[in-house]
Amino acid sequence: MSFENHLLTLLIFLPLCGALLLCFLPKSLESKFQSLALLFSLLEFILSLFLLRTFDSSSHLLQFAQKVLWIPSLGISFFVGIDGMSLWLILLTTFLTPLVIFSSTVGQHIKGYMACFLILETAMIGTFVSLDLFLFYIFWELMLVPMYFIIGIWGNQNRIYATLKFFIYTLAGGVCMLLAILFLVVLHYDQFGTFSTSLLDMYSLDIPFHPQALLFLAFALAFLIKIPSIPFHTWLPDAHVEAPTGGSVILAGVLLKMGIYGFLRFAIPLFPNALHFFTPFLVTLALAGVIYGAFLALAQKDLKKLVAYSSISHMGLILLGLLVLNSHGLSGSVFQMLSHGLSTGALFLMVGMIYDRRHTKEIALLGGLTKVMPVFSVFFLIITLASIALPSTNGFIGEFLILIGAFEKNPLYAILGGTSVVLGAYYMLWMIQRVLFGPIQHEENKVLQDLSWKEIATLIPIVIFIFWMGLYPKPFFQKMEKSLDYLAAHYERYDLGIYEKKQ
């Protein structure tokens, strides 16, 4: 009982402890830093598996909740809990972090690099489990700090520009959100006479339309920047190009999902009327993002930029699934977040593997790699196919559900969103063609080494999940179903209680 109640807190702070421990170790142990970080992240993963096991999928209520008063005079508490929406995102985080740490090939300042990822994990988990607006805001901004350093220290030539752009952009969104949170607190005081920052209290607020619209916009801006939706997307390609491999994986795999999660947990249930009003605009942004991202991916000459723009396109589709607010669209959206996290994460890992060997991401300098790196090619092809939603891979399930949800809302949405089926295949297969196929035209490519066992070991878990989720997605849906159905049915009068375990 008590252990389960502290589980989330443990999940949040375990990586941070690891990071602290790393900081106090002497430099003479440098060779052990990576293993130690890996150990912590694996422990974290095992803990999260325990979370998965004990999660009761028959309830939409908040489970593993823990509430500790923090600043009583302002009603701020350390309040955490999860439901079906956040469960899988936590798992995604704890799954990708060890992979990133394991596969890291960073040569300098290993201690700092590892510590950054562990702190980042703390912040990410914290964001997903916070049920207190103030706490949420802290974790939300905390994510920026390690990422800022990861790009700024271990990045490529133009890293300072990229990391600054990333930081300022996200911070600007965050500040808007902070103002909105303060407004909500005041509003709560007006209506109930007490200070509170608890999300559950906020759900019961009665907000008139005008302030609601403003508040919604403030939250939505923060989330749209994070997703990123056009026209707020230009920080992403720059950040990806400059970030080290691990940074890109976490950025694409988890950080982008924060935006969608923010909508699910905050923007939609808190401001349903404003959402109704803005839905047409947001849907336009989402659909435009799907098509625009795909077009721009076609024009890219840099491998990482191509994948980054493909992310923008995919995230547009995920946003679409969210906005149609029916059970198919929402399930597809959450499922697709997981698939996208895995397949795009893996794509970035593999681009990193090319970069480690060839020291370029320029597509024109590659070509014919299948000849020298057959194993690499097989993995690259599988992951690309998952990314273009080939049936039997995870990408297909998510995409199909999103589109069918969109179709139920408005057939035109599904048709426009469906263009990604063709365009996505176009840019991805064209990339494959230019990278893997054709004759080898550059001498340097003739001597490239195929994947090492370590690299294969990094990719295999991802490939397993690609097919598992594609062929037998039932367990994944089972755990999220209740929460999403509840959201779809009750978002206009949303109210979440705390789950009491039946004895």
């Binding site: 625009y292 024009a299 589109l403 365009l423 004759p439 037998y472």
Partner: protein, 630 residues
């Protein structure tokens, strides 16, 4: 039992795909062939089982597990007479082609990759055929597309071949998008994607319009997979793949998936006459159009490719007029003779060390006697000379067409004659005529394994028609129409025609006589009197150029679709993404920097100026308070 059908090709794929590089070549090809053979044997056993059981019992449904519970989609398989026939063709013809490949591809360093793809293809195709759920069918549908992509670009080092693979996949994806939209419509209208449930679900009159849309969208999907206008452009390029692949995927099996799908969902097409007309029209137009493109092609495989498109058009004509079992009949005979033609062409290409240009061939009759004979069988079958298989199936389609609308019959006959022209031209130029110098030496006839599959397929092309002897010839062959009988439980209702009338015999005779006349004329033109051919070419030089350039359709598509997308994306990147969006961001950044520099003078450390600011500020506030009081 049903799972066994699927299991072995899948196992073959996994074993060859994962371990193939370490196995000896004999093991690789044995595994590849054996897995398909086991499937075939199983299917054959099921056929006997079906024949022994009463008509109503000839159906097996197996549900393996829930796939997407949210949509009620299960992984479920259904075997009935229709799918069983297709399974037999896929595994039977497929096995012969696997066998042929064992030698044809024997020297290729990537033999294991080849066989694993081929087995994966067989698996996906069986999935497509056996699926009892449209979404599950879609796995097979896209799976065969994937294998086609991989096998067209099998020799990936050749940039052109990789390009052809991508083109095939993309054009198919356009069709697939329509297919997906159809699935959405079906799901929102009927609430299920299970084929058995859809078959029995009631369609109210006001749903007919939606149903028309659904069937049309599905047909667009079929146009992609089965290479019909306007999505046929990928198939000729697909000939970049190894020849056995062209035989298996791009002639005998995968490209017929569209026809299979329409036949599978015939209960809807019967309700939507408009869609049926569209199917039949697109079919016959494609048949004629692509036959004309085959006229002056000089690549032996391209001629066969256009011929495949044309034959598929004929099958669509059949299903479009409601003659479903005739369409399936032609699908089966076509699988026999077209696989034969491709493999025989492969044997020629093999003998000539990769030469595919028919202008560089000629007089191979004596050098490759076996190939010559089997190719002749193939030609006779495709142009429909009795008693070769093509005669029966084509004749049945023509007879149904005549009953539906005599115009269809005339066009169908025209198509048959056009087919005769280009096939006999091909045959004459390759095996007769004058031998070119360079290919006199090192010619070798097909080795035993290849020969075996050629001979078996030749026999099937000859005798395969007997499974569907028309009623009118019942007395002559003393056989009833087995196929129609066998398919009877599947197709609830078909176009009703009377058999055995005077009309039928006379039409049959007209067709055969005209075909023979055309064949003789063509043979003489391209064999004995080449000056006729020269004369013809000069006289119709404009048409000749137009046809050999395939009406410039590829160029048009590039100009109308591919270029705008590519150029558009570059323009967007340059002007919108970098110019406008990033430009205004940097503008904002500059404003911040500039205002920072501009306001720097305020913070100059001079106490007097701070005091001045203080005084001015205080005065301002006082002024404001005073104005509000007053």
């Amino acid at each position: 039992m049903l799972s066994t059908l699927l299991l072995f090709p899948l196992l073959g794929f996994l074993v060859n795909g994962l371990l193939g590089r370490r196995l000896p070549k004999v093991a690789v090809s044995s595994i590849g062939c054996a897995s398909v053979f086991i499937s075939f044997a199983t299917a054959f056993y099921l056929l006997i089982d079906f024949l022994q059981s009463p008509e109503g019992w000839r159906e097996i449904t197996v549900t393996l597990f829930q796939w997407i519970p949210l949509l009620g989609v299960d992984v479920s398989l259904k075997l009935d007479s229709l799918s069983l026939l297709l399974v037999l063709v896929v595994t039977g013809v497929g096995f012969l082609i696997h066998l042929y490949s064992a030698h044809y591809m024997g020297d290729d360093p990537s033999l294991a990759r080849y066989f694993s793809y081929l087995n994966l293809f067989t698996f996906a195709m069986l999935l497509l055929v056996l699926a009892n759920n449209l979404l599950f069918l879609f796995i097979g549908w896209e799976g065969v597309g994937l294998c086609s992509y991989l096998l067209i670009g099998f020799w990936f080092e050749d940039a052109e071949k990789a390009q052809a693979g991508k083109k095939a996949f993309l054009v198919n994806r356009i069709g697939d998008l329509a297919f997906l939209i159809a699935l959405f419509l079906i799901f929102t209208t009927f609430g299920t994607l299970n084929i058995s449930s859809l078959k029995i679900s009631e369609v109210s009159p006001d749903q007919l319009q939606t149903l028309t849309l659904i069937t049309l969208l599905l047909f667009i999907g079929a146009c992609g997979k089965s290479a019909q206008i306007p999505l046929y452009v990928w198939l000729p390029d697909a000939m970049a793949g190894p020849t056995p692949v062209s035989a298996l995927i791009h002639a005998a099996t995968m490209v017929t998936a569209g026809i299979y799908m329409v036949a599978r969902l015939h209960f809807w097409y019967l309700l939507t006459p408009f869609s049926m007309t569209v199917v039949a029209t697109v079919g016959i137009v494609t048949a004629l159009f692509s036959a004309s493109m085959a006229f002056f092609q000089n690549d032996i495989k391209k001629v066969l490719a256009y011929s495949t498109i044309s034959q598929l058009g004929t099958m669509f004509l059949a299903v479009g007029i409601g003659a479903f079992s005739a369409g399936i009949f032609h699908l089966i005979t076509h699988a026999f003779f077209k696989a034969l033609l491709f493999l025989a062409a492969g044997s020629v290409i093999h003998a000539l060390h990769g030469e595919q240009d028919i202008q560089k061939m000629g007089n191979l009759k004596s050098k490759l006697p076996l190939t010559h004979i089997v190719f002749l069988f193939g030609v006779l079958a495709i142009i429909g000379i009795p008693p070769f298989s093509g005669f029966f199936s084509k004749d049945e389609i023509l007879w149904f067409a005549f009953n539906k609308n005599p115009l269809f019959w005339i066009l169908g006959l025209l198509g048959a004659l056009m087919t005769t022209f280009y096939m006999v031209r091909l045959f004459a130029l390759v095996f007769y005529g004058f031998a070119q110098k360079e290919n006199k030496e090192h010619l070798h006839e097909a080795p035993p394994l290849m020969a075996l599959s050629l001979i078996l397929l030749a026999l099937l092309s000859l005798g395969g028609g007997l499974i569907g002897v028309p009623h009118s010839l019942y007395a002559f062959f003393n056989m009833y129409n087995f196929l129609e009988h066998f398919l009877n439980p599947v197709f609830v209702s078909q176009l009703e025609v009377t058999h055995g009338g005077l009309n039928e015999y006379s039409l049959m005779i007209i067709t055969v006589v005209l075909t023979i006349a055309t064949a003789l004329w063509t043979f003489l033109t391209f064999h004995k009197y080449q000056e006729w051919a020269e004369h013809l070419r000069i006289k119709c030089s404009k048409i000749h150029t137009l046809l050999s350039n395939k009406y410039y359709i590829d160029e048009f598509y590039t100009w109308a679709f591919v270029l705008p997308v590519k150029k558009g994306s570059e323009v967007l990147l340059k002007f919108l993404d970098k110019g406008t969006i990033d430009g205004s961001l940097h503008g904002l950044g500059k404003v911040a920097t500039l205002s920072g520099t501009g306001l720097k003078f305020l913070q100059n450390g001079n106490i007097q100026s701070y005091a001045l600011g203080l005084v001015i500020g205080t005065l301002g506030i006082l002024l404001y308070i005073w104005s509000t009081l007053a």
